[in-house]
């Protein structure tokens, strides 16, 4: 029972991390940010 609980907690934490990373990656791909960021990055050259 304790092993199952520990495994579930570990699985849950990995899923949470994956969701968090996917959310941030999605933020990079939002059209507004791409244009905004690209103009700043390109302006630096």
């Amino acid at each position: 029972m304790r092993d199952i609980r520990r495994l579930s907690a570990r699985l849950l934490s990995w899923v949470a991390a994956a969701v968090l990373l996917a959310t941030v990656f999605g933020a990079y791909l939002s059209p507004h940010l791409v244009v905004d960021l690209a103009s700043r990055v390109w302006a630096c050259l």
Binding site: Y28, L33, L37
Partner: protein
Amino acid sequence: MTAADRIGYSLGMNLPVTSARQLSMPQVLLCGALIVTLSMGIRHGFGLWLQPMTMDRAWSRETFAFALAVQSLAWGIAGPFAGMLADRYSAYRVLVVGGLLYALGLVLMALSSTGLAFAGSAGVILGMAQSGCTYAVVYGVIGRNVAADKRSWAMGATAAAGSFGQFLMVPVENWLISAWGWQNALFVLGCAALMILPIARGLREAPFTAHHGFQQSVGAALREAFANPSFRWLTAGYFVCGFQVMFIGVHMPSYLKDHGMAPGVATTALALIGLFNVFGTYTAGWLGQRWPKRFLLAGNYALRSLVIAVFLLAPLNPASVYLFAAAMGLLWLSTVPPTNALVAQIFGVQYLSMLGGVVFLSHQMGSFMGVWLGGKLYDATGNYDLVWWIAVMLGVVAAACNLPVRESPIVRSDVLPAAA
């Protein structure tokens, strides 16, 4: 023998070295990860201020770039001193001072109206702040409080948090600038930096003591490290890490633009490097617990050279840029956990922050050279080809540098054998 003594034995110090009360691993990991998420994340997006600040203040780009170059060097130069203070007195106090300097530097950066004031705030103060609240100081606490058989993994998890901070803060800072204006965005970040202070309480250690006659001065620790060929090899290899990462980070957008890539390709590449960097640093720490770390480091540098060479020789298109970004992301900061874990493994943890700071100084000198040489050779030749191939060659050299590293703990003949 206490649990702490067992850790002391496992540090490779030939005798039990213990702090009076160990911090729990989850506490050290959580607080350390939060601190490096903030400290590494906040600075990562500073390039986003170039356009609004130079326009508002009527500065040249050189003024801005110079301050950031000063910041990198100040971080590297202050690192061994911050590490020494953390090792000798208290990592907690160094973290508090680092957090305060971080907030002060950000506020003064926002208020700077001359190039000199900007170099002082964004350059010197923020560089010193980073030396006080990034990897070297946090790794010292991890080294002293996490058992050797989990140390590399713990360093990898903490480095992954720093990588996540870098990944997270670029869109956050971009949003802050757009929504609040560049000056207010810096004030908000200054408040965020102050969060380091309460979190640092979780890394407050009891006085670190050594018994059974073991005492080593700062000077003796430095002499011992520099006399050790493995330390010199590690330090030389880390120079290349800084060179490659900063050259690619700073000059790749320009390289892509020269080759007619759309602006969105560079931002997606940036996102991919950030994403895969999180996986890479965590995995490097985890692997460091299982495989010889010198092979991990040599493999990392050799793979970097291979990836860069393939990128240069393959036809350039968005797909090849994304593949390159993902592969480099995996290798990006994954040198950090094995390098610091090796320093702890060879020399013990009494001066881990200071010795980590010394190795990191070499990294920062490499960073400076990567940025500077990239621009210099671009101006001289009209393209980046030569610098790319220098990066490839340096990767091979760094791989060779790490192979002769001896991972076994240093034997100290002047230390009394431990009474178990």
